[in-house]
Symmetry: C2
Subunit: 186 residues, 2 copies
DNA sequence: TCCAGCATACCAACCGGTCTGTTTTACTAT
DNA sequence: ATAGTAAAACAGACCGGTTGGTATGCTGGA
């Protein structure tokens, strides 16, 4: 794997886990096994340009991952369960989540960097669009589907926050159990 | 108002808006109109001790605010609408939220500081307990009430994240509209 | 006079970022 | 095949500014 890709992959995980500011440049370089020369060669804009690249890369991999889970699932209910299940698996194994989320970046950068905020917005839109498509497939009207897809995205991200605060995967498990129930009622 | 209280109130807003690391010590001092001497006089533990104090203070004021909204409301549905309404009002007025949330702190500090994580956990538990009490009052069983209260907390925090990413209050508005509907179905 | 309640001066460590220098690679003209 | 060359891909020293934190000085009230 080439240096640039390795940098993005490593940095993405770190940013997802701990946010932007909390990850120092030197720590980043050490984790990637590179030096400043390499970083500023590939990303003249420095740390922030790397962050944007991470978010864009995340957009692709996340889309692929979630879409693959959704294609294997028969209903939106099952699909959402599968996505949350993956998050719980990560959480229980590593004690932290390094996929399917970027809440730490959003809350930190939305006021700080317009490009970063835009990239985050694009990511959420992408996730919601996948939910939306499956919901329409399930027979929901367009309005309903877009409301629910936003709602799903929000409650999953919020559930992750609760998991982080409690240092446990129980909140996401609860949400995983409640969500499908709610979607039947519509 | 005495210096210590002023420090806590000002710092709380800043931490809520932008997180912990993103708020520098000097900026903090300037915003509070004090010097380092005063800070380290009242909080020998420095910035982190101040953060803990902020979270504890937030626990009290947040509880009072939300409980007051809940007491005036007839049902959980109306109460939740009122809480989200306050958030939206803040968001539309200031372009940022400085009350009813601390997601930026959670995502940033959960891996960094055990005491901070504990304080956040306590805060979420407190909020959920208020929801829970009202839900039981509405006639829900204990199990149901605790599931829904967790769910409410999660989706509100998640909705706020979406608002930050989109720089708009629409996500929270959507959630406000959908949530009560869901709660009737139970 | 004594001590809480600050203010001021200062510090080492670290921050992200720039700079210059070196190696590696890719291509080309002979 | 080979020598020459230019650009890409790094490496690492260095920089000014900022960080959180400390040590000391001052000051008004009990």
């Amino acid at each position: 794997m080439d240096t640039k890709t390795r940098m993005i992959e490593t940095a993405t995980k770190l940013f997802q886990q701990r946010g932007y500011k909390a990850v120092g440049l030197n720590e980043l370089l050490q984790a990637c096994g590179i030096t400043k020369g390499a970083l500023y060669h590939h990303f003249p804009g420095g740390k922030e340009e790397l962050l944007i690249a991470c978010l864009q890369s995340l957009n692709e991999t996340l889309t692929m991952d979630i879409e693959s889970l959704f294609n294997r699932a028969t209903s939106t209910e099952a699909a959402v369960r599968a996505v949350i299940g993956e998050m719980i698996k990560d959480l229980d194994r590593d004690g932290t989540i390094a996929g399917y989320t970027f809440s730490s970046i959003v809350s930190e950068m939305s006021l700080l960097s317009e490009p970063a905020r835009d990239a985050c917005r694009a990511l959420y839109e992408k996730i919601q669009s996948i939910f939306y498509a499956k919901l329409v497939e399930d027979g929901f009207t367009s309005d309903r589907a877009s409301s629910i897809s936003l709602f799903l995205t929000a409650s999953i991200e919020g559930g992750l926050l609760l998991c982080r605060a409690q240092n446990s995967s129980i909140p996401l498990q609860t949400i995983s159990n409640v969500l499908p129930e709610l979607m039947k009622e519509f």
